[in-house]
C-alpha cells in the first residue's frame, strides 16, 4: 500500500506540489488528473525519489518509501525513452536487471509478453526499426515484466490507438489482479472512469478532489438530466432552477439543473400525464467535473 501524506515541493517561488495526500491499496488503481503543469509529474517524481520533498511523507506498506523498494516499482515516464540502438530483448533485459531481476528470470518471459502486447517485430530487432506504437508497447513491457508491486504510469494512454489502449488497459487490470498498487495520470477521463477505483485531481499543485469515482461524481449532485417527455424546451426553461436546456436528438432534452432537487419538480411535471420513455438524472461526468474545476478562477 502506498500512502502519501501532506506532500509539498516548491521550485523557488513556484509551489509545484502543495499538501497532497492519498492512499492506494494493494490491488487498487488510482487516477491522477489535472491540467498540464498541475503537479502530476512532480508528484510522481517525488514518490520515486527523483526529487526530494520539502515536506510530507511517502510510505510503502507502512514504512518510509526508500530506494530499497526501487526493485518493486514499475515506472512509465511521460517522456518515453528507449535506446534506439538496442535490440528489443536487450532493452527489456537492461531495465529488468536494473529492477533486480536476472537475465535467466526475464529472458524466458519476453516472447510471451511481446505476443500479449501484439508487438510487431522480433526480440532481436533494433528498437529503431519498430514503429512508434510498437516502441511504446515495448516500453510498457519494460515497465511491467518484472511484476512490480507499485506501478506508476505517467500519461500511459497518450499516443495509443483504441486497440493498443485496450491492450494497455488489460495489462493494467492484470497487474491489479496480481495485487499491484497502480497510479496513473491521464487527460482522457474515459480511461480514468473505466479503470480507476480512486481518483485525485490536482490544480496548481493542490489537491482539489480525492475519493472514489462514484463518490466524487455524486458529490457534485445529480444536476444532469436526460429527459424524453411531452415537455418542450420553453416549458423546461420556465422551471425555476433550470440553468440550461439543449435538445440532443428528436424529443430528448439535456437539462442542466441548479441542484438535484429541481429534478423532482421536472419529474412531476413530465409524468403528469403518465408514462415517459426517459428520465435519467445523473451526476456530471468526470470530464465535466474536470472542465468545471479547471475553469474555476484560482482562489
Amino acid at each position: 500500500m502506498l500512502e502519501v501524506t501532506d506532500l509539498k515541493k516548491a521550485f523557488g517561488s513556484l509551489q509545484a506540489v502543495d499538501d497532497v495526500s492519498f492512499k492506494i491499496d494493494s490491488g487498487q488503481i488510482m487516477g491522477l488528473i489535472g491540467q498540464n503543469g498541475s503537479g502530476k509529474t512532480t508528484t510522481f517524481r517525488l514518490i520515486l525519489k527523483l526529487l526530494t520533498q520539502d515536506d510530507g511523507t511517502i510510505r510503502w506498506n507502512g514504512k518510509p518509501f526508500t530506494k530499497e523498494f526501487f526493485n518493486r516499482v514499475g515506472y512509465l515516464p511521460e517522456e518515453r525513452g528507449l535506446n534506439q540502438k538496442m535490440t528489443v530483448e536487450h532493452q527489456i533485459l537492461y531495465f529488468a536487471q536494473l529492477r533486480g531481476k536476472t537475465k535467466a528470470e526475464i529472458d524466458p518471459l519476453i516472447d510471451q509478453w511481446l505476443e500479449d502486447f501484439q508487438v510487431v517485430g522480433g526480440r532481436k530487432d533494433k528498437i529503431k526499426s519498430l514503429s512508434k506504437g510498437n516502441q511504446q508497447k515495448v516500453q510498457l513491457i519494460t515497465t511491467l515484466i518484472h511484476e512490480p508491486e507499485l506501478i506508476i504510469l505517467d500519461e500511459p494512454f497518450s499516443g495509443l490507438d483504441p486497440v493498443n489502449a485496450e491492450l494497455l488497459e488489460n495489462g493494467i487490470r492484470d497487474a491489479r489482479d496480481r495485487g499491484a498498487s497502480i497510479i496513473f495520470s491521464s487527460h482522457n477521463m474515459n480511461n480514468v472512469e473505466e479503470l480507476c477505483d480512486n481518483m485525485v485531481m490536482l490544480k496548481n499543485g493542490r489537491q482539489v478532489l480525492n475519493g472514489t469515482i462514484h463518490d466524487i461524481r455524486e458529490s457534485f449532485g445529480r444536476t444532469r438530466l436526460f429527459l424524453e417527455s411531452p415537455l418542450n424546451r420553453a416549458e423546461l426553461e420556465q422551471v425555476p432552477g433550470v440553468l440550461d436546456v439543449r435538445e440532443v436528438n428528436n424529443g430528448t432534452h439535456y437539462v442542466t439543473l441548479e441542484n438535484a432537487d429541481v429534478g423532482h419538480q421536472i419529474f412531476d411535471l413530465a409524468t403528469k400525464e403518465g408514462y415517459i420513455p426517459t428520465f435519467s438524472q445523473q451526476p456530471p461526468t468526470l470530464e465535466q467535473i474536470f472542465k468545471q474545476i479547471a475553469g474555476e478562477v484560482n482562489e
Partner: protein, 418 residues
C-alpha cells in the same frame, strides 16, 4: 545483479563492440604496420640490387672476371666480345649494358653503356674498377695487396656532442635524447587521443541515455551516483582493455621479433629497461590521471545536454581544453623552461600534457613532479565531486536553453534539493 555491475557490464560490452573502439584500437597498429612495411620495402629496394647482365669488352680478361667475382648481382656474359654484339643483345633486351675497358699505361679507362635504372650498380662497378687499378699500381710499386689495403683504411673519428648547461659542458647522448623526445611526443599524442576518445565516449554514454529520455526510468530504479560511477567505471575498463591489448601486442611482437637483426641492433643501442622505467615511473600516472579527470568533466558536460544531436556541443569546451594542453605540451618540448610552460605544468587539467615534456627534457625535479601529480589527484577528486553533484541535478533537466542556463537551472535544483 548489483546495479553498478549492470551499468559497468552494459557500458563495457556496448563499447568494446562499437566500431569506434575497434578502429581506435586497430588504427595505430595499422599505421605502424604500414610504416614498417614502407620502411621494409624501401630498404630492400635500396639495399638489395636487382640482378643484371652486362658484357665486358676488354683485352684484359681479368677485368670481367674480377667484376663477376666482386658483385653477386652482376653477371658478366663472357660470349659477347664486341660492341656490335653487345648492342644487338641490348636491343633484344637480353643484356642490360656493356663496359668497354682498357689500359693506357697504368690508367684504366672504361666507358659504360646501359639502360636506365642501374645507378646503384654503376657506383659498385666504379669502385671495383678503381680497386683493379689500385691493385695494378700497387703491384707496379711492389706493394703487397695487404699493404695496399691498409693504405685505404679510413681514419677513426669519434663524435662527442655536448651542450652547455649553466657554464658546464654536458655530454649529450644523442640516441637517448632522441628516444626521450620521441617518447614524450608519442606519449603526448597518446594522452590526447586517449583523453579525447574516452571523454567523448563518456559524453555519448551519458547524453545517449539522457537524450533518449531513459534517465527517468533508470533513476527510478537506482541512484544517479550508481549510474554515474557505473558508466565511468565501464568506460574506464574499456580503456584498461585498450592499454592491455597494446601491451600484449608489444610483448607478442617483441617475443616474435626479438631475434631479428634490426631489433637486436636497436636493443643493443637502447637501454630498454631505462625507457620502460621512465614510462612506468611517471607516464602511466599522467595518462590515467588525465583520462580520469577528463572523464569526470565529460560526464558533467554530457549531463548538460538534452538531445543526442548536441553531443558535439557538449564536447566543444572539453576539446578546447585538450587542444590547449596538447599545444602547450608541444611548445614545452621546444622551450621547457618558458614561464607559461612551467606554470601550466602545475595547472591540473594541463599537467598530463605538459609535465611529460618537462620530465623528458630534465627540466623538473621529482618533488615538483609529485607535487603536480598530487595536485592533479586532488583536482580530479574535486572535479568528480562537483560533476556528481551537478550530474544528479542535470540528468533530469530537459531544457532547450544554452548550457550556461542549464548549469544555472541545475544549481537552483541542487540548492532546492539540499
Amino acid at each position: 545483479m548489483n546495479k553498478l555491475k549492470v551499468f559497468i557490464k552494459d557500458t563495457f560490452t556496448k563499447n568494446v563492440k562499437s566500431i569506434g573502439f575497434i578502429s581506435m584500437l586497430l588504427t595505430p597498429l595499422i599505421v605502424i604496420g604500414v610504416v614498417v612495411a614502407i620502411i621494409y620495402f624501401a630498404e630492400s629496394a635500396f639495399s638489395g640490387m636487382a640482378d643484371i647482365d652486362i658484357a665486358v669488352i676488354s683485352d684484359d680478361s681479368s677485368i670481367g672476371a674480377i667484376i663477376q667475382e666482386s658483385e653477386e648481382s652482376i653477371t658478366v656474359v663472357e660470349d659477347i666480345q664486341t660492341v656490335e654484339d653487345a648492342e644487338a643483345e641490348m636491343k633484344t633486351e637480353e643484356l642490360d649494358g656493356y663496359i668497354v675497358a682498357g689500359w693506357e699505361g697504368e690508367q684504366l679507362q672504361a666507358s659504360m653503356t646501359y639502360t636506365g635504372g642501374m645507378d646503384t650498380h654503376i657506383d659498385v662497378i666504379e669502385q671495383i674498377l678503381t680497386g683493379i687499378q689500385m691493385m695494378t699500381r700497387a703491384q707496379a710499386l711492389d706493394i703487397s695487396p695487404e699493404e695496399a689495403q691498409s693504405l685505404n683504411e679510413p681514419v677513426v673519428l669519434e663524435n662527442h656532442i655536448v651542450s652547455i648547461d649553466a657554464g658546464e659542458m654536458v655530454e649529450e647522448d644523442d640516441l637517448a635524447n632522441m628516444i626521450a623526445i620521441g617518447s614524450a611526443y608519442f606519449i603526448n599524442i597518446m594522452i590526447m587521443m586517449f583523453i579525447m576518445f574516452y571523454a567523448t565516449t563518456v559524453i555519448e554514454e551519458v547524453a545517449g541515455e539522457k537524450g533518449t529520455r531513459m534517465m527517468e526510468v533508470i533513476l527510478s530504479s537506482t541512484t544517479a551516483t550508481t549510474h554515474f560511477f557505473g558508466k565511468l567505471i565501464g568506460v574506464f575498463f574499456v580503456m584498461l582493455l585498450h592499454i592491455s591489448f597494446y601491451v600484449l601486442v608489444v610483448l607478442g611482437a617483441y617475443m616474435y621479433f626479438k631475434d631479428h637483426a634490426l631489433i637486436t641492433q636497436i636493443l643493443s643501442e637502447i637501454d630498454i629497461g631505462a625507457v620502460l622505467l621512465d614510462f612506468l615511473e611517471y607516464t602511466w600516472v599522467f595518462l590515467i590521471l588525465g583520462v580520469l579527470m577528463y572523464m569526470f568533466i565529460a560526464a558533467f558536460l554530457g549531463s548538460l545536454i538534452t538531445k543526442t544531436e548536441d553531443i558535439n556541443r557538449a564536447a566543444t569546451p572539453l576539446t578546447m581544453l585538450v587542444l590547449l594542453g596538447f599545444y602547450i605540451g608541444l611548445f614545452a618540448m621546444a622551450s621547457p623552461e618558458n614561464p607559461i610552460v612551467v606554470a601550466s605544468s602545475f595547472v591540473p587539467f594541463l599537467t598530463p600534457f605538459v609535465m611529460p615534456f618537462r620530465i623528458a627534457t630534465n627540466t623538473v625535479g621529482s618533488l615538483q613532479v609529485w607535487l603536480s601529480v598530487g595536485g592533479s589527484v586532488l583536482f580530479t577528486i574535486f572535479v568528480a565531486f562537483i560533476s556528481l553533484i551537478f550530474y544528479r541535478a542535470n540528468v533530469l533537466i530537459y531544457s532547450d536553453t544554452s548550457m550556461m542556463k542549464t548549469i544555472k537551472q541545475s544549481w537552483a535544483l541542487v540548492r532546492s534539493e539540499r
